[in-house]
Symmetry: C2
Subunit: 223 residues, 2 copies
DNA sequence: TCTTGCCTAACGACTGTTAGGGAGGCAGAT
DNA sequence: ATCTGCCTCCCTAACAGTCGTTAGGCAAGA
């Protein structure tokens, strides 16, 4: 691929990095996400993105400093925004079971609502520079650790039964990330339906599906 | 990307397609898998693959008709060989629980043993032509359907408790494919350990984790 | 003599990116 | 009310390099 030599045009770059027309930017990110999804980051050129946006390739550099920035913006839609939306659920109101169910529903719903970005975030991370990669992975790890802590606390409280909460967190995330690989809007299940069912399955996975069986550990709460 | 115009050199292509030196071929596929994993299919050029194999780019065409064939061979290691190895387990000896456990262990173990190929198969399918893509997806669907049928039969037999065996098959596969995204050889868990734990979690997921709780449906077999 | 496995050289197309300019709109000065 | 200067958003043209692939040849072994 071509070079990105350190130019004296620092001013130009700084301006392009600072959002100019925000809605136009979001529009272009959406177009790029779709193409990255269809053909992969390296499989799509700036000229192809530009053509899909009915613009010239060079004009993209008015909004974004580089192709990588276009990718990063796509990925933020998933990794940054998901954590911001979801973490409050774990610290919010309700029983551990209720909160886990809300988390899973929100997670699967987010996949359904941001399909292109999820696809891209799932397989194009390696195209990011180390610096940006680290930034994105901090969000991921925060989400993962928060879920691990939550499952540990829920087990402590007798609502779940996880031998190894950290591993259970990975297993739950592996499962609920799965629909990103196969779910399609015109498939057998609507996304809300799928989210509800996966929530129930996630409860099973962490030993929190109490109703049909009795609790594994002594608990004080009724029912 | 460059063209693949219909050439009159059909003979050359046919010869390259028929395996020549099988072990050399496998070696080159291994090198290609590794690079595809690290940088993505479109992120790696034939010259880079050649250099890693200590060869000239043009020489690769002595063994493979095209770059796509190199990718296809990488993917076969997963999608074709996995199905061939694993399907007999489902039709083999043992209780449903035992067979599911063997399947999960084999699946996770296969990921650990073929990391590069799994990574590539997980995210570079779109680079295949429709024709080859369909071929690969037939294997995937066969695996998925076989697991769905198996879970339905196991539920019928009272060993599992799946409301929707097809969906449970997807959930189990989503979970056990997960380690492909994050497992590393020098991590906290050895692959065999992880395989054993994920097998136990998969049993939970399908309602087949009898020992700590009593069976949900009437069964005759002891314990 | 034929095959295998590699080589050098070249093709045309495409890569990310930059330089530089032009049209239109808006703010402030005259 | 008009002019001036700046900012936004887009353009054309070009750069140096890389892409997948093919043609043609050469040395070693059967």
């Amino acid at each position: 691929m071509a070079q990105a030599q350190a130019t004296p045009a620092r001013a130009t770059r700084a301006q392009a990095t600072r959002p100019r027309n925000a809605s136009r930017r979001a529009e272009l990110v959406g177009v790029a996400s779709r193409l990255f999804r269809e053909r992969g980051y390296h499989g799509v050129g700036m000229r192809a993105i530009a053509e899909a946006a009915d613009i010239q390739a060079a004009s993209l550099y008015h909004h974004f400093a580089s192709k990588e920035e276009l990718l990063l913006e796509s990925i933020y839609v998933v990794d940054r925004d998901l954590v911001v939306d979801q973490l409050p659920i774990l610290e919010g109101e309700g029983t551990y079971r209720e909160r886990l169910e809300r988390l899973v529903r929100g997670h699967v719903g987010h996949i359904g609502a941001n399909r292109d970005a999820w696809w891209v975030a799932g397989r194009e991370l390696r195209a990011l520079s180390r610096e940006k990669l680290d930034e994105v992975q901090v969000y991921r790890r925060r989400y993962q650790h928060a879920l691990g802590d939550f499952l540990a606390a829920g087990t402590e409280a007798g609502e779940f039964a996880c031998d190894d909460p950290r591993l259970s967190a990975l297993a739950v995330l592996d499962m609920i990330n799965g629909p990103n690989e196969w779910w399609e809007p015109d498939g057998r299940l609507a996304i809300d339906e799928l989210a509800a069912r996966y929530a129930a399955l996630a409860l099973r996975l962490v030993g929190g599906d109490a109703p049909p069986r009795q609790a594994r550990k002594r608990r004080s709460s009724a029912r």
